[in-house]
Symmetry: C2
Subunit: 331 residues, 2 copies
């Protein structure tokens, strides 16, 4: 027996608890080459909202009446596969459930790190960490001396973008977030300036926070954040287009940015990217960011919610910005 | 004595004839190192609209009460500079006037080409030609087999973009223009599909014209054209952001594109550029495009207006799309 969360209905606009079903299922018997994994942590991420729509995108949509998917870290309970044994810690894509029986090839053994929660493999040492690393360094071609602005800066990705930029010699690191508490946290993390985008307009706040302009914008939000960034970008500026959380639950497309024509005269480069295309950089990211993490030079906040039954609320809360750092569900 | 067009007032929205002053001026006596040039052709270009605003951009604004500037081709009438003599054809930036006395260093001698009007140095073999060449090949990283869409396709730049793409092995070349006559002309120039954007919506017309999507969009227009292109772009698509003629006279910024968030999942790259940054490619362009021109494999249409006094009307007509190919004023 296990429990899992199925997609009950496709949300129109904001997801509600009714869009999710908590169900009990029988686990199949474990076959040769398979493992039984008990999940300890699962990830909720903004991109999952897109998979709830019936639209083919870079990942196929979730199916109605079937369990949602996503990153999870679990412990092998029983193994009939060489190279894996009970007690091993594994990373895999079968989140949103307490236990899973799967082929050994579909899980990856990870090493426990002294003093670091295994949930780090869902955050700073996982997909969000790689997103921040690749987006800043490869997509936005960050170089020492650049002034960097990141939106959603208190989120899993944003907080890492700001800290990596600082460690790599940014001239200024600016972040936006949705509450005064988050803004205070960003200052503790070493951001030179941070603002609450709910206070006034993004354009006004960004003008104050980056009076000399910015060279790089890491976009997690879209819409008015993107418009404000385009206004502040210096000639030759670069935008890493990572996400558009403002649009995910919108039923009408936003009327922004309205100043994209400025990209011509400013010679801006804007690049959208999907972290899954860049897994070849995972080794570099873990070496560099993992080193900073062990040395205490980088901080990876987590907001932890307990219990599979609370995973839908954790996900909806994530979309509302209730997390600081990585939103994790502990099972 | 010479005649010139001064900027009388800064237009708000669409320019009107009252924003221009035709004035007679005394020419200064020619000094050592200078030349007296009688202009034969002058250019009117969309970017000039931006210079009429009192806004610092990549080029300084025109000054009130002073002559407008822009590309021109003229004939040396008198020379007190070595290397230039009466009768030489020269290219320079002192358009909007009949004659000019200037330093020899500020003009460039150009060779007459058999069977080609000297005005080509203001079009296919000049700035518009380089814009098309660099924008398609360097900025949008065009490669053989790409499907290309260009807006403003019957303009000086757009018509060259489409023809260069075809000569370089595009799988499909699609253009938009503002009249049925222009659309017919694009088909004659070898475009695989062309549509009149005033018939229905750009999104609908582009879906019909590029049913399998596009890989490159060369943007001269912005707004709804850009939105439609983003919708049709394939994964890994590229946009060369060259101009936004739809915005130049707008008093309110356009509410488009509203689908920029698609750039993430599609991994789009959008790059704004200014041709002045790419003059190192002029030699390559003239070699390659000039070769096609001599072989009759590329066609460079011109719309010619006679007389300096008609230059303001030619410029306003250009902004309204009254030209096919390069808009030239013959003096």
């Amino acid at each position: 027996m296990s429990r899992q969360i199925n997609l009950a209905s496709r949300p129109s606009g904001w997801p509600t608890p009714d869009d999710f079903d908590l169900v009990e299922v029988d686990l199949p018997a474990i076959q040769e080459g398979q493992v039984l994994v008990r999940n300890r942590f699962m990830s909720v991420d903004p991109y999952m909202r897109g998979r709830m729509n019936d639209v083919e995108s870079y990942v196929p949509p979730f199916r109605l009446g079937e369990p949602l998917e996503g990153g999870a870290v679990g412990e092998v309970v029983e193994s009939r596969a060489p190279g894996l044994e009970a007690g091993d810690l594994v990373l895999h894509g079968f989140g949103w459930r307490e236990q899973v029986v799967t082929e050994a090839a579909r899980v990856r053994r990870v090493d426990p790190i002294e003093g670091v929660s295994p949930s780090a493999y869902l955050g700073v040492l996982g997909m969000p960490g790689l997103t921040a690393y690749v987006g800043l360094l490869d997509i936005a071609s960050f170089k020492e001396g650049d002034a960097v602005f990141v939106s959603g800066a208190a989120g899993a990705v944003g907080a890492l973008v700001g800290q990596i930029a600082r460690l790599k010699g940014a001239s200024r690191v600016v972040g936006s977030a949705g509450s005064d508490a988050k803004v205070a946290r960003l200052r503790e993390l070493g951001f030179d300036a941070a603002f609450n985008y709910r206070n006034g307009t993004v354009a006004e706040r960004l003008r104050e926070a980056a009076p000399d302009g910015i060279d790089v914008y890491f976009d997690n939000v879209g819409a008015d954040h993107l418009e404000a960034a385009i206004e502040r970008l210096n000639n030759g500026g670069r935008i890493a287009m990572c996400g558009s959380i403002s649009a995910y639950n919108a039923t009408e497309p936003p009327c922004a940015p309205r100043n994209l024509f400025l990209a011509v005269g400013k010679r801006l480069t804007m690049r959208g990217f999907i972290v899954g295309d860049h897994s070849s950089r995972m080794r570099d990211m873990i070496a560099e960011v993992g080193g900073w993490l062990r040395e205490g030079r980088i901080t990876a906040d987590e907001t932890v919610v307990d219990g599979l039954e609370n995973a839908p609320a954790a996900f909806i809360g994530l979309l509302r910005g209730e997390n600081t750092g990585k939103m994790i569900v502990r099972l």
